[in-house]
Symmetry: C2
Subunit: 394 residues, 2 copies
């Protein structure tokens, strides 16, 4: 049995009863009501604009979460690893984009999926990769399909819209027998913004650069059917999407404190949290010790670079109500230290040993990846409705 | 089948051939020669001093790694989660310390292991926990055994040696029918040191505080058989261990860049690394893009607070030879950006798409936890000798 298909009842925590009060901690909670609300928010936004939403599975890595977005059809998705592509292919998904630059060993693995009927599109930005992909396609007897990666904000890889290499890559794809899917860009720098004006501008820049690249390719005689953009901040701030055909986003399903700092969500929109138990107190230091350290929360300190630093997370009671200014100020592997945010006049709450709390994470992708499964809850309720396994690996 | 007992051949990467050249990336490598050398270094050091070494399994989380330390006997170990305790119990280990403060739900689970014949000792620092543990023991019909946690440097939990609560906890244990195993402390602040003098002093302080606490308990009429200390830095710098009966350490098996920065190891001692593949280049920015981001490396930036900041890791060629001043300067989920360290006169090496590199991690515990298994290699060799699964969860 593959581990990602392992049912919740086989899991090592299966002896725990299905309520928040008795769940072994630390444990990852997913509020399905907030998840559904977040999914509808962005899918409605894209439907209004006539743009395909291709959700990025790098955050959730779970067929059960994906089925909330696609209850009946297995629509377009984005994946961050080939293990994700293989997992979702086993669950019936056929239209995927692998949004990480191509390497020789991944080209071969992609061809195996294409041969099995999965329309898995890949990403590249060099003639070398185009030739490598063409060779892998010929060896497997299938036609590969690739996006050219466009760099809209200097964040990572890709070519600028006016780089002469753009046309050279398109030519190399044609010569190598690879179909050009279109252009793909990601406004990764939007994560460091925090005003609506800057976010509107980042979204418009992402759109304009992607469309300019597509137009440059078309002017040179290349088909460029898909113009794919996306990041959770720009997806929620883009007003005009003229020329864009699809939007990619992942963390929007769960949201997190970094997205709250950017201004894309409220803390009430954050759908995942880590349930923890108080295991000690140090009143003389203003500390409460809990059993969620960085192994349960991740080492992500994304809010450290934002206007409000939440340490390793913001603390709520077991029902999800925030304690004023209570954060996870330090984390070792299996210990978290709760303290009142520096400068706050609020007092440390009285939490005895054994008390349970919830921690809202800085970065949903990183925190969720520390866990085997989601314990599914509904707003305010104590019951665990389901346990949804996550997949991992590459 | 439990997932930690899953054999390597069932794994999703099983189709890859067993050499570094063909291994799918990113992948975790473990150099068994360095592992063995690190194990012998500390075990010899403790044997010379007549102190029991109780290795901490929080770093390796693998029976195969543990069997390099204990090839024939199942000796004393430390664990950081009850899932680790249950895993090692299934593999025949009977003498364990769970070195995280006790909570009500963990007390019950500990009693199930004790009832099954595992001498699992727990940690606490309050009369409430003593009473809770006693109640769990009575409910299960077994006698619990507990350490009192001692705070030697203000790092986390525990009582100072002169805290009157120390005797109150020992009394509460006696009244609750719990056996006092002894005292346990951890010089967690030693991780922020970097001179031999400071490390010698931290080790002596750790020893002196633990022994003072044991003496205070004995003077009040309590048995205190075990005096347990430990952190990887103090374990390697302690000269006199008079009064100490056991040493705990975990990261010493693998070492990492943080331990190198502290001064406990050389980069040649670091036994784990992440194999990655070049997927793009941005020569105009001085960047090489690889397929190992924070999902493969972890978000740990432990060297950021040290004298030399290694970003997300230090880069070697596929055989393990360091490229001068080449670090992972940025990481997103599945992308790493390699760049020359700021201020260095070294040039970016010429690494084409498809080239493989190894990345030495900041923090072995955090990086290893991002992976399903260890690909076991020997110094300089290309062959993968074995694939050792890791366990995870709580």
């Amino acid at each position: 049995m593959r581990r990602e298909e392992m049912s919740g009842t086989d899991h090592q925590n299966s002896e725990t009863a299905a309520t928040l009060g008795t769940l072994a901690t630390p444990a990852l909670l997913l509020d399905v009501h907030r998840l559904d609300r977040n999914l509808v928010r962005l899918s409605s936004r894209m439907a209004e604009r006539g743009v395909v939403l291709r959700p990025h599975m790098k955050t959730a890595k779970s067929i059960d979460v994906t089925r909330r977005a696609y209850p009946s059809v297995s629509g377009p998705i984005t994946v961050s690893t080939l293990a994700e592509a293989e997992y979702f292919a086993r669950h019936g998904f056929r239209d995927m984009t692998y949004a990480v630059g191509l390497a020789p060993h991944t080209a071969e693995r992609v061809m195996r999926l294409r041969k099995a009927g999965v329309d898995l599109k890949v990403l590249l930005d060099s003639p070398e990769q185009a030739r490598m992909l063409g060779a892998a396609g010929r060896a497997a007897g299938v036609t590969p399909t690739a996006f050219i990666e466009i760099d809209c904000d200097g964040h990572r890889g890709g070519l600028t819209a006016d780089d002469p290499k753009l046309i050279a890559v398109a030519v190399a794809l044609g010569e190598a027998g690879v179909e050009l899917a279109g252009v793909l860009t990601h406004a990764g720098e939007s994560y460091s913004l925090f005003t609506p004006e800057a976010l509107f501008a980042a979204a418009e820049n992402e759109r304009a650069v992607a469309v300019a690249a597509a137009e440059a390719l078309r002017a040179a005689g290349h088909q460029c059917p898909i113009v794919s953009v996306g990041s959770t901040p720009t997806a929620h701030f883009a007003e005009d999407l003229t020329g864009v055909t699809e939007m990619r986003a992942g963390v929007y399903m769960f949201f997190d404190l970094v997205m709250h700092g950017v201004g894309v969500c409220t803390t009430d929109d954050i759908a995942i949290s880590v349930l923890a138990t108080v295991i000690g107190t140090k009143p003389e230091k203003g500390w409460i010790l809990v059993d969620a350290g960085w192994m349960a929360l991740s080492r992500d300190r994304g809010t450290a670079a934002q206007r409000v630093d939440h340490g390793y997370g913001l603390v709520c009671d077991v029902a999800g109500n925030l304690y004023p200014d209570l954060i996870v100020s330090q984390a070792s592997q299996e210990h978290g230290i709760l303290a009142i945010r520096p400068g706050s006049a609020h007092a440390l709450p009285n939490l005895p040993i054994g008390a349970k709390i919830r921690i809202l994470p800085n970065h949903a992708c990183a925190t969720a990846s520390q866990h085997e499964l989601y314990n599914v809850v509904s707003a305010g309720g104590d019951a665990i409705h389901a346990r949804w396994p996550r997949m991992r690996g590459w």
